[in-house]
């Protein structure tokens, strides 16, 4: 990499980290635009945390280059540290100290004087709904509270780039939604967020661009739309009035759309997976055509919905194995899956 490309918060080229025999990160190229949420999606052990640690100057890369706002993460580590914040996979706060003490401690380390550090701590605790728990030790916090204090600690000084390493792992759905709201609020103020996650819907909800990473390599990269389009335009779900008409309806869908039709367990329901190659039509256009044909054939459709392909399907299509299989493969260090290769 010669020069810093304007508008990029993170640029990596051929980033490598090995632990003994394992190539945890095996030539990762990333280009993260400023002001967005960039999702790094992958199963456990894919190399997400290792990548984040290298970008946050906590681990030295064994190969390749990484720049954060144009600063090399090894040679200009201090400049990088001045502009980023890290919320690790495990609470990056001191468990023995109280919420207030943690924030005041970090505020002082960031250069605030005693008074300013206390004020900022109180304001953050208030904004994060933690005022009541301010005087309690972190080890007595619930999972959701820990995540909040952790993120609060990361924005004591508004960072230009925030690393969120699996911010919702182990949280209940409600706390997860609250963390998502916080992430949205942070990005709305102009901070770039690099979010790693193993939850496909989390990347779907928050990120505008996504890199799918598996076994230390980026296997796909693009906007959510691009990634989804790569596995097809989506699917049409239909519910018929009369179960007896289902075989006929399936035939009509096959002929009009050239789609794979799946009969659901519900005897009146069926799903047609739309292919991209079928036509230039959008998913909605294809669905409209299908509905017209069905009506002409005298088939009554009670209800229909258009489904976008889920990132689950994307992952399956890209790797040839689902996320579970990938974890198992990583765990047993099995040789490369034929389908994936």
């Amino acid at each position: 990499m010669s020069q810093h490309t304007a508008g990029l918060a993170i640029e990596t080229v051929g980033l490598v980290k090995t632990f003994g025999e394992t190539r945890a990160v095996d030539g990762v190229d990333l280009a993260v635009p400023t002001g967005t949420v960039y999702g790094v999606l992958g199963p456990n052990g894919a190399g997400k945390t290792t990548t984040v640690k290298m970008l946050a100057t906590l681990l030295r890369p064994d190969g390749g280059e990484a720049r954060v706002f144009g600063h090399d993460v090894v040679r200009e580590a201090d400049d990088v540290r001045g502009r980023v914040s890290l919320t690790g996979q495990y609470a990056s706060v001191d468990e023995d100290l109280t919420g207030t003490e943690n924030l005041v401690l970090l505020g002082r380390l960031l250069g605030h004087d005693k008074k300013a550090a206390r004020e900022r701590a109180a304001q953050l605790l208030e904004a994060f709904g933690l005022t009541e728990a301010a005087g309690r030790q972190i080890k007595n916090y619930s999972g959701g509270m820990r995540r909040r204090i952790d993120i609060a600690a990361s924005i004591l000084n508004t960072p230009d780039l925030l690393f969120l390493d699996e911010p919702t792992t182990g949280l209940d759905p409600r706390s997860r939604n609250q963390v998502w709201d916080i992430v949205r609020a942070v990005v709305a103020q102009g901070t770039t967020v690099l979010l790693t996650t193993q939850y496909l819907d989390e990347a779907d909800q928050l990120a505008s661009r996504i890199a799918v990473i598996d076994r230390g390599k980026v296997i796909a990269e693009g906007t959510k739309g691009e990634l989804k389009a790569s596995v097809g335009a989506g699917s049409v779900h239909l519910r018929l009035r009369d179960a007896e008409q289902r075989p006929e309806a399936a035939e009509v869908l096959r002929q009009t759309l050239g789609a794979r039709v799946q009969l659901e367990p519900d005897p009146v329901a069926l799903t047609a997976r739309l292919g991209t190659s079928a036509s230039d039509d959008t998913a909605a256009g294809q669905a409209a055509r299908a509905l017209g044909e069905l009506a002409r054939s005298g088939i009554t459709v009670d209800n229909f919905s258009l489904g976008q392909p889920s990132l689950d399907e994307v992952f399956l299509a890209l790797t040839g194995h689902d996320t579970q299989a990938s974890q198992a493969a990583t765990a047993t260090t099995a040789s490369k899956d034929e389908v994936a290769a």
Partner: protein
């Protein structure tokens, strides 16, 4: 799930998006803290930990009291005629021995701490790199001071009368703390190098027992075999014990003080950089 968790979840107030946004608008950053200020802040963290877990003061209170009582009455009669005579000689030595022994807990606390997520945050802050470690040692210096005061008090109760008066005693303790601060970098190194708390403890014992016992803390080295005298007379603990003994007795043992400070500088210059290298590579 436990009742406590459910209560907490229910208590949890919603995140206020507006006040959060207002906080995030403030983009100005204060200048970075100085090396000294960052170190002091980490020292404050160590003090807060003592406040929350006061049991950890056990090793600087009960342990030193036990050391004074045990050795005064165990060896007093045999070595000096009576415990009261012996304590005049023993107290500065046992003070040195106990504090130098306590330093090894630094390694254990560094080792248990480094595995926690908070260390990743500290290491990603734009601050003077050694300040985290210096902070530990500043907190520990406070512990050493507490241990020293406790032991002196017990000693005085048992009949120890320092001829150097308050000035001599304070000078002796100050020298002891300076040495311990420098010496502790061995433990920060082991704390970062070894994988488990147990191995840190094991290695520390192997270093600390010979180093403190093979010294002039208990007896005059003149009765020892020649090869042992060679070791004992050049041991940093012997120099430190002699210097502290001299200062508390109202002398000015310049040679011994110089040797002690020399050793302290050596420990700091060798093990400080190794510690920081390990810290940066962790």
């Amino acid at each position: 799930m436990s009742t406590a968790t459910t209560t907490e979840t229910r208590e949890l107030a919603p995140v206020s998006a507006e006040s959060l946004a207002a906080l995030l608008v403030a983009k100005e950053r204060p200048p970075r803290p100085s090396a000294w200020s960052a170190s002091l802040t980490f020292g404050w963290r160590a003090v807060l930990k003592i406040k929350h877990v006061p049991e950890q003061l056990f090793d600087v209170t009960a342990f030193p009291i036990m050391m004074v009582l045990m050795y005064t009455y165990l060896f007093g009669g045999a070595l000096a005629g009576s415990p009261k005579e012996y304590i005049q000689f023993l107290l500065p030595g046992i003070l040195v021995m106990s504090v130098v022994m306590i330093t090894m807990y630094t390694g254990v606390s560094v080792n248990t701490d480094i595995e926690k997520g908070v260390f990743d945050r500290f290491r990603s802050l734009p601050i003077w790199r050694p300040s985290t470690m210096v902070g530990y040692l500043l907190g520990d210096a406070l512990r050493y001071a507490i241990a020293s005061v406790v032991m002196l008090t017990v000693g005085i109760v048992l009949g120890y009368r320092p001829d150097g008066g308050p000035v001599g005693v304070i000078a002796g303790i100050a020298l002891l703390i300076v040495f311990s601060f420098a010496f502790s970098w061995i433990w920060t190194m082991f704390g970062l190098m070894l994988r488990t708390e147990k191995s840190v403890m094991g290695v520390s014992m192997m270093v600390i027992f010979p180093l403190t016992f093979l010294s002039n803390v208990f007896v005059d080295p003149r009765t020892m075999p020649g090869w042992l005298q060679a070791f004992v007379n050049n041991s940093p603990v012997t120099h430190l014990a002699s210097a502290v003994r001299g200062l508390m007795a109202g002398d000015w043992p310049a040679d011994e003080i110089a040797w002690t400070l020399g050793w302290a500088a050596l420990f700091l210059l060798v093990f400080g950089p190794i510690t920081m290298r390990l810290y940066n590579r962790k």
